[in-house]
């Protein structure tokens, strides 16, 4: 979901009240790589996340699968995707270039996030998504959607906990409804 920029502060105050702990600042340089031509039987996509908020930038590789489909998915009020992450050393970009992956696009996400523990762990992030006019120029990023920030609510789940997680996330989202 999205939030108009002028309401971000109010949303932050609301989340702070619900969470009870200080927010975490977010400044992540996200690079989306796609497999080069003729690499692998199917095209593949990988995301490299560089956390610029840390004193020493840290890198994470993230693979997000397609949305769950089928009769079971249609009964869920949320979108379910498989996601696998791995922390990696800082030469990961060069590594995937060597494997034949190409940079498709890059983004800079700036904002804040809260973690809620309500039986399950729910993460809420409010970020502006920015694009870079020059390659890797994070200091010159401009918003993709000026005036609107992205609100993401997520929670880890396994196949046997979908109903419980869906209920918890849906219930939590009621607090954020305008």
């Amino acid at each position: 979901m999205g939030v108009v920029l002028q309401h971000v502060e109010a949303l932050e105050i609301l989340l702070q009240g619900l969470c009870g702990v200080p927010k975490q600042r977010i400044r992540i340089h996200e690079l989306c790589l796609k497999s080069g031509p003729n690499l692998g039987a199917v095209a593949s996509e990988i995301r490299l996340l560089c956390d610029l908020e840390q004193p020493e930038p840290t890198w994470t590789v993230r693979h997000v699968g397609g949305p769950m489909r089928g009769a079971g998915a249609e009964q869920l009020a949320v979108l379910v995707r498989t996601m696998v992450e791995s922390k990696v050393s800082k030469n990961v970009l060069r590594f995937f270039y060597a494997l034949g992956y190409k940079l498709d696009h890059e983004l800079l996400r700036v904002g804040f996030g809260f973690h809620f523990q309500r039986g399950i762990r729910i993460t809420v992030t409010v970020t502006s998504v920015n694009k870079m006019l020059k390659l890797h120029a994070t200091d010159e990023a401009v918003p993709v959607t000026p005036g609107i920030q992205l609100v993401e609510v997520s929670a880890p789940a396994s196949s046997d906990t979908y109903p419980e997680i869906v209920a918890a996330v849906s219930s939590f989202c009621e607090y954020l409804a305008p």
Binding site: S35, G40, S86, F95, L99
Partner: protein, 289 residues
């Protein structure tokens, strides 16, 4: 790979190699730092003709499960750095008898390595695109870092350290697949400040011996430069001792230029991964020749 856990082979004190102090069959205490590798390859299948009493201490496919971290020890003296040795060495018995009688066995150890040569199968015949993909893409897991996995692309001098979940990610990408898996498995010995691992190299699901690897680690120092001399001295003693036994073949030195991989003088598990990749390349080249 089997993950059967076996009890420590704590066999008590034994005589040690000439000139050294007595060692003890104890668990490694915060070991780390410098390593040298001696690898040998064999083109013959292993001959399992040893008696049951001789083989009672031999184990395969075992994890140490120590998972010990390796903090930086304070540097005590000026010491030599690590050395890598690789050699063609035909043996029917992968465990050197010289170690069996001279050192204290403490643990078994094993390492798994995946070789993922490219290009992908459906591009084998396409010469124009095959050059785009690395042909020396290796992955390795080390017993001292159970939650980590290491990728190497030797041609471009790249070593990547990642959480072990990176293997799941690579499987989901389906751009590269493991074609050959090799295991380094054998025994670990403690000799004063040195820790030795000697083992055989076998493909997955096979007992065909591909080679013999010996890993020598000098525990007190993390600096490659400062420990170079003592490592060379140790290996000189080793070579001399081995030569007196009239064993077939010999060990040779295989240096690794860690700087090319962007690695510093301070020894880490990434250094180990790179050395094993070089040992593998040497073994493959020897088998082919």
């Amino acid at each position: 790979m089997s993950t059967e856990f076996v009890e420590n082979l704590n066999v008590g004190r034994r005589d040690v190699l000439e000139g050294g102090k007595g060692g003890t069959a104890t668990l490694p205490q915060q070991p780390t730092h410098l390593k040298c590798f001696l690898g040998s390859s064999s083109s013959r299948p292993s001959q399992k003709n040893s008696s049951p009493s001789q083989r009672k201490e031999k184990c395969t496919n075992l994890n140490i499960n120590e998972g010990y971290d390796r903090p930086q020890c304070p540097e005590q003296t000026e010491k030599p750095n690590n050395v890598v040795i690789s050699e063609s060495h035909r043996r029917s018995e992968p465990e050197p008898a010289i170690l069996k009688h001279k050192m204290n066995e403490t643990h078994t150890w094993d390492i798994s390595m995946d070789i993922q040569p490219d290009p992908p199968d459906h591009m084998q015949s396409d010469q124009t695109t095959s050059a785009e993909y690395p042909r020396d893409f290796l992955g390795i897991s080390l017993p001292e870092q159970p939650n980590k996995y290491y990728f190497m692309i030797r041609g471009q001098r790249i070593v990547l350290e990642a959480d072990s979940t990176i293997q799941t990610i690579m499987e989901k990408l389906q751009s590269y697949k493991s074609r050959v898996s090799l295991y380094f498995e054998g025994f670990q010995y403690q000799l004063g400040d040195f820790q030795l691992r000697v083992g055989k190299v076998v493909p997955a699901h096979s007992e065909h011996l591909r080679g013999i690897v010996m890993e020598v680690e000098y525990l007190p120092i993390s600096s490659l430069d400062k420990s170079r001399q003592i490592m060379e001295e140790f290996l000189d003693i080793w070579q001399e001792t081995v030569s007196k036994r009239s064993l077939p073949g010999h060990f040779v030195h295989l240096e690794t230029n860690f700087a090319e991989y962007g690695l510093s003088d301070h020894y880490t598990s990434q250094h180990t991964a790179v050395q094993y990749a070089n040992v593998m390349a040497q073994l493959i080249a020897t088998v082919r020749n």
